[in-house]
Symmetry: C2
Subunit: 271 residues, 2 copies
């Protein structure tokens, strides 16, 4: 998917919500456990209910890998089921030496046909470049994450007063432009949004941590939105586990709609 | 597996060779393609031929993920097939926020029953700690890798003249000791072995990049071995693709044996 296509979808739906399919077998409604593939059945109903009210789905691979090869099968079926008009994120945080990253690219861009993959930057350029060889596919590079451990290394400060996450952004700008690269920026570090937007005014930012991890949507939107939106705000648990009974998909839709109503205002105000 | 058990195995076999099962469907002998699961069949024969001549197997998950759920099935069968006396490394370079890393731990330590997992440090403490909750399981943390891109961030220098990889080692020492943590140290950065050994005299180092990526085994051994060996040197392609015909397993064994003969000398000399 191109940046323009993503932006068109955002304008059409009036939302920049990304729904995180962090589907945990221990948290889905009990009545689904009788299905042949409960994880996929849950995702299918969530997708049916929310596809009109979000522009992206983010699928964290850990939830699926924890179930072995059957989980991987549910993962593939889920990617396959999502309408092609919606942006898909394989949240796998991969990254390895060049020829190995090429294989991850094959896994997620060819096998799964995901539009994008989250990538950990520690191993540098050759670990990221193989993903960029795919036209209209995206790398979403970890920059500043929302977890407590982000303090350990991402805020490592250089002799030139530059933090590691700033160095990651600066260096990666030489690898690809805003048409193929996005950045993960945790909603818990709103104080840094302004500074990061100066470094990358045009890029899309993927903001996890909205909802369960805390984070103020108005502030994120005010500081993060640019003239082509430039923001995907992810919510997982607050949407997909809005209800644990038979009505779970309707309740998920309700929450997604509510977030969308708020986002519509911010799009008019700040985009 | 405990550190002592690993050391006992090394003494018994007189080798610290780790065989990398980077099994690529495009590189295995053609006659195997007729098997139901060519990847597993290849691994099985390599394991049968080399199990007496190595102390560890490292399995890079990318090769398996690139084949979809069937590849994941081959991965599981391979872990299952490896004799329990041999140390297993899931070379998956995972790392995510705490509750997600817990799921990766479930995938690799419970489903696969791997002894260890390679972990990328970028997301810090809570991304690593869930793996350390498993008794006698190991985190192998990326410190200094052997690829060209390692120059981008791993050598990022702090205001206190400390490189990022040194900071990663220093910080992670507060998370676990040498009984649960190892470090990845590329054989291409031999100049830094001595300095790193001062930081972590007791830890095991996993050294990839021997063979195809270059690296001097004598020098690595001289600088890396400690009084409990403390070294696992990985070779993948040079062993598993030693021959592309029906004799591939015997040829793999031959190379593993040869490396072992060299390692035996270094164990006597430096350990």
């Amino acid at each position: 998917m191109t940046r323009q296509e993503l932006f068109e979808q955002i304008k059409q739906k009036n939302t920049y919500l990304c729904v995180g399919l962090d589907t945990d077998i221990q948290k889905i409604p009990k009545h689904l456990l009788a299905c042949e593939d409960p994880i996929f059945e849950f995702n299918k109903q969530i997708i049916d209910a929310t596809a009109d009210f979000c522009v992206a789905y983010k699928i964290n691979t850990a939830f699926y890998e924890s179930l072995g090869w059957k989980g991987w099968q549910s993962l593939e079926k889920t990617f396959d089921y999502i309408p092609k008009s919606i942006f898909t994120i394989a949240d796998a945080k991969r990254g390895d030496i060049g020829n190995t990253s090429s294989l991850y690219a094959r896994a997620f861009f060819e096998q799964m046909q995901a539009d994008s993959l989250t990538v950990a930057p520690y191993m540098g350029e050759d670990s990221v470049k193989p993903f960029l060889e795919y036209k209209d596919k995206w790398v979403i590079l970890l920059a500043l994450t929302s977890n407590s451990g982000s303090a350990d290394f991402q805020w490592f400060k250089s002799e030139n007063n530059q933090f590691l996450f700033e160095k990651v952004i600066e260096t990666s700008l030489t690898w690809a432009n805003a048409d193929q690269m996005m950045y993960v920026l945790g909603a818990t570090r709103i104080d840094y949004f302004k500074k990061i937007r100066q470094l990358i005014p045009e890029h899309f930012l993927l903001v996890p941590g909205y909802g369960a991890q805390g984070g103020d949507l108005r502030l994120v939107s005010e500081l993060g939105l640019n003239n082509k939106c430039g923001l995907l705000v992810n919510s997982s648990r607050a949407i997909i586990y809005a209800d644990d009974g038979k009505d779970f998909a309707n309740q998920a839709q309700k929450i997604a709609k509510e977030i969308g109503q708020e986002m519509k205002i911010y799009l008019q105000e700040f985009c």
